[in-house]
Amino acid sequence: MDKILKEEKELKELRKKIFLTGYKGGMAHLASCYSSLEILYAFYIKKALRYDCSNPKWADRDRLILSKGHAGLALYAVMAKAGLLTEEEYDSYLQPGSRIGGEPCLRDSEWVEATTGSLGHGLSMAVGMAMALKADRSPAKVYAVLGDGECEEGTVWEAAMSAAAFQLDNLVAVLDCNRIQKMDFVEKTMGMANWNEKWASFGWDVAEVDGHDVQALENRFRMPNESGMPCLIIAHTVKGKGVSIMEDNPNWHFKLPGKKELKVFREELGISDAELA
């Protein structure tokens, strides 16, 4: 129980930190960050991702590509908590001379595995990494975190097809399935998603998990691949998770709170006057 309380506290702290950084920077995809947070926490803090803190270029490390790059601030916050980014680097977000920006970028941190931002690139890059690691007989796994809205990009399906054709059992795609894209719900925009059936029909081994249950995510990420095929984990998430007015609300894709809304953020995330200054 203590462990769960500790995690909950840490996750709330991270949400607060992401908010404060984004708010002070003047721009952030807060809702997307909050949707992906537990997924990234399970990888970096619970270490479902195998990496060596002292050697970012360890050849056999697992790779994580945040294909939905707009949740980059969440990735950087989690990396900072894991000690992969200094607090100074993290705090520089969008400030003059900043070291990090709104999307993960290879040149900004040696811990970023791929530059993303334009959707529909990450899974293809992950496919190439998985192929190269297989050729090297490396035990490393490659994880790509995708958005469900992102799956409207055609290249996602080119990548899905090739990953199955090449039987990349070292590749795991995590679908941050928050059901909302920039302008509206995914279902209203492009019809019924049926992700499980779609990916399974492409030959992927598909699993579903509560995307805010750290333990369930961690367990699933650590599960060995027995299918011999690439695996898709559908993580059911809530966009904007953690702040009531933002949750499950399409208006919040790329928005910071106004005066009234700020009050709710402050109450629910426990932000003091001093912290906001």
Binding site: R63, G117, S124, G128, M129, A132, T155, E158, A159, S162
Partner: protein, 309 residues
């Protein structure tokens, strides 16, 4: 050029098992031979060029040296954002080989023509652009691309192009090659259309008009010094390219002249901001678009007469 490409790639693959031959269902004709020799170094992504390009970037992050190969049009246009974001912005060691350059896919029409690739790709940072004219030069460009650490685009033609170089020819990346000299008129040319430009130069010479002929195999980094030197001794300059005159070799030379305050007149021979017309043989489509030796010859003669040269 394609057989020269794959021949050199096999040489490299034998030396270095990190060299990968990466395809999108459009090969060189010798890919099964490559597969027999290096089964773990060849991957066909099927008809998905963007996925192939991005995956190649992923491979390069693990230390592989992927040479992606397909029709230039499907790389430069269809996969442009993937070349830009995944290969060039990340500055990864991927080689992009676009074949069927210019009008080489003559009978398939402009969807298959690669006549704006230089313009598009020249504007992307970190990308070296090589544009060989002959099979021998293609092999040299493949070697040079392998030696260069970073993104390279190689613009190659089809097969059986006329050879201008000796067996022991070696390329110097970033240096223009002056193939004909001693005149007051300079013609710059890039790619396999060198054959037509050379014949045009020969026709002019037969009439006593000596032109300098400069082959530009490296579009980027461009040998501006050579261009300036040639301009300083020229009364008029021409560029010949199987490409739109906007943004290609001609534009590159015009930029160089302007940057250096050189006022010599330049006439750009190429597609005049149009899609090519006609179908049939490569030679025939070149002629239909004013890009065969006879058309180049007539154009140069006419422009010189207009200028009173």
């Amino acid at each position: 050029m394609q057989s020269a490409y794959i021949g050199k790639l096999m040489e490299l693959a034998e030396k270095d098992r990190n060299v990968f031959h990466v395809l999108a269902d459009s090969g060189t004709g010798y890919d099964e031979m490559f597969r027999r020799n290096f089964p773990e170094q060849i991957y066909n992504f099927g008809i998905s060029e963007e996925n192939m390009v991005a995956a190649a970037a992923g491979m390069a992050t693990v230390g592989k040296v992927p040479f992606v190969f397909t029709a230039g049009a499907f790389l430069a246009y269809r996969s442009l954002e993937f070349i830009r974001d995944d290969i060039c912005f990340q500055n990864l060691n991927v080689k992009v080989a676009g074949m069927g350059s210019g009008l080489a896919w003559s009978s398939l029409g402009p969807t298959h023509h690669t006549t704006e690739d230089v313009a598009v790709l020249r504007s992307i940072p970190n990308l070296m652009i090589l544009s060989p004219a002959t099979p021998k030069q293609t092999a040299e460009c493949v070697e040079a691309a392998y030696v260069h650490q970073g993104p390279v685009y190689i613009r190659i033609g089809m097969n059986h192009e006329k050879e201008f170089y000796e067996e022991n020819y070696r390329i110097t990346v970033g240096k223009n090659e002056v193939l004909r000299d001693g005149g007051e008129i300079t013609v710059f040319v890039t790619g396999s259309i060198l054959e037509e430009a050379d014949r045009a130069a020969e026709m002019l010479l037969e009439e006593g008009i000596r032109v300098n002929l400069v082959n530009v195999h490296t579009i980027k980094p461009f040998d501006g010094e050579n261009a300036v030197r040639m301009a300083q001794k020229s009364r008029m300059m021409f560029s010949v390219e199987e490409h739109n005159i906007s943004g290609g070799l001609g534009s590159l030379i015009a930029e160089t002249l302007a940057d250096n305050g050189i006022g010599v007149k330049l006439h750009r021979i190429g597609l005049k901001d149009v899609f090519a017309v006609g179908y049939g043989t490569h030679k025939g489509v070149r002629a239909a678009n004013g890009l065969d030796a006879a058309s180049i010859y007539s154009c140069i003669k006419e422009k010189l007469a207009n200028e009173g040269i």
